[in-house]
Symmetry: D3
Subunit: 156 residues, 6 copies
């Protein structure tokens, strides 16, 4: 088996022209692990402005930039994008959902949205500590396309 | 202590106009953990084309897009960007280094470069499995600016 | 009634995946009010080059950037864009028309085109005076979608 | 007097290479006038999410896109950008401030930030009514450069 | 006959809203002619990294930027993009193929991909000599749309 | 001699951090060769709108996008950009000039400006014939930097 992103050794944006557009969805996540100083800064900032909302918004905008960032990704007419950040102690988890009606899926859009949201939160809290880590950027769920619905199992 | 990215509850791109430009460097990493099917695909692809080089290049280009992706990041005249991917079994580690002479640091550029490289490799190998995970997007080293040189300790 | 651009307090790009694509058009305008010095500069420039044509072109290109500028706007396959600037004494009025076949409308594209055209003319004439004002960026007409055709009334 | 943006009838990005970089600031505003339905929507949305903060953020990001939108504008290393939206009844006023150390000013950045913030608020409230109007996109203050400090007079 | 890109003297993005989307393909080329020093550099670089692959990738990404670069070009949902560089002595020929299902063709996408690939190779080899020339950026083949299939004749 | 754009086989944006910023200029050209039908269309279009001015403007804007298009190019603070198109029978020659004060040169910016201007003219005239060719994208002159001033010789 060879990667479909290379043809005779040359990178290609795979031809999806013979696949009918169908509804596709993808959900991905990224977790920002905050050392105590950064967790405190996040909680201090909350009353007056909302770093998590800024990060959510950056994630939504990042989803739209996916084909510019990922060289072999197709431009897709996104039907929806949502990014939700939830804080649990010193961890902020961003869950990104994207959908489209297209010949190819939106996994990269969801992953990019989650990653950009996490990087944006990092940026706003990095003054407190250099120890922030973004963990587990990964796909949670995928619907549509030839392989149908897939959900990550609990222990994945 | 409050986040400097909000002023009276409004998000701001912090004023760095009174800081002299100095040389700054940052190194960051991201690790792509490949299930066996994806590791096999990566090794199969290598002889004919190089997914890791594609990812490195995407990371370099991604560093240049940092101020477009991260809402409150400053535009910076990058002096250098390098992204190096090294494969160790089923793990590919991308290390990104950036430098500039500016009033603010390049941590976000290095982190964005590493993350975009990792996402790009994910894109090229995702046909093999949905189980790929990007782990540990984090800063390794930082030079210049008020806080001087910082290096992540082994157990960080 | 609550804004559809927030869901449980998180910003979202609204899901339009269940709406069929239909033809949609929108027309918007923006008016640049020029103090005398700027009006004179516009008229002096005309024989040798055409600031209004530069602004029209910038407006067309700006329409294509709408989903990058407006965070919760959907990417749309624009079928047409036209921006026409007409000068009447010291006022230049830009009228922008956009159309698409999509699940959501092109009002923001038309408004963005008109606003970018106006800002571009401002840029070229600002050397004459700081007193230029862009007035009345607003929708003039909208066709297609659930709400059908709407036209601004004379006294709107 | 002829526009400096044309040379022998060809558009040019004016040469500023012989001007030393100096500190420059600019403040601009744009006012969104909301019909009652949109004003109500804005107030309804506020408890759960903040459309004005979304608009402020879009304005900051828009400032960074100025040289892409305005054809003859110079790319500038922005030192700071802030956009503050204040609601007074059915009017939301966005004030944008930018600064840089460069050979040319940041008026267009401030004006673009204010205009993009206003367009973004329009987008989020347009479901309530088509009658929203963006009024008075204009410069309020300018510091630095050959012409020194300028402030719009009360009745400007 | 008048250019369809102007209407009453104003530039327009032509309305294609009444044309049904059909499959369209285009192939274009650009040739980089290398003086001996640059040809030697290309061959020296090959064992350790691949400038031609970098250029191919830049061409693919460039195709996706076409509507941002070419003012009156329509945004198109590209189904595929491939750029193949072949070296023959001191000449590197980039052939770019694009396809879509849309109301208008992809000639500009293929031409832009070929040109950007050629410029990128130029960038990587320009340290050797200032004498590199990009020759013959031109269309080779076009399929779909009203005018059907067209192939450049041998002596074109 | 090896390309400086690769280090141990990995692509890099070369470190220019140890080079002082100096004034640099570059001039490049691209020639669009029009078959008769396209030449006639260009002349027909001229009275009512100016395809060459549209192309000049696109070239100026293209110069600003150079670091996004050319993967290993540095972002540069351009001091000036001018693109001038001159028509001689069925040939339109675009000459692009750029300048900056930076640690690296602006050859790629001038070449990109000339190429994008040529592609834009192609777009506007392609309805007349598929036989248009862009010839001779090449550097004409370069000033500043270690290698000083270079001018292409007449027979280059």
């Amino acid at each position: 088996m060879a990667s479909t992103h290379f043809r005779d050794g040359h990178p290609v944006m795979v031809d999806v022209g013979d696949k009918p557009p169908t509804v596709r969805r993808a959900v991905a996540e990224a977790v920002v692990v905050l050392p105590d100083e950064a967790g405190a800064l996040l909680r201090a900032g909350a009353p007056k402005g909302d770093p998590v909302q800024v990060a959510e918004l950056a994630g939504i905008m990042g989803a739209k930039r996916t084909p510019e960032l990922i060289p072999l990704a197709h431009p897709l007419p996104l039907s929806s994008v949502a990014v939700t950040g939830t804080t649990d102690g010193n961890r902020v988890r961003f869950e990104a959902s994207c959908s489209t009606a297209a010949a190819t899926g939106v996994e990269m859009e969801a992953l990019t949205a989650a990653a950009v949201a996490a990087l944006t939160l990092y940026d706003m809290l990095k003054g407190a500590t250099k120890g922030i880590v973004i963990e587990g950027v990964r796909l949670l769920r995928k619907e549509g396309g030839r392989s149908g619905t897939w959900t990550r199992s609990e222990d994945g």
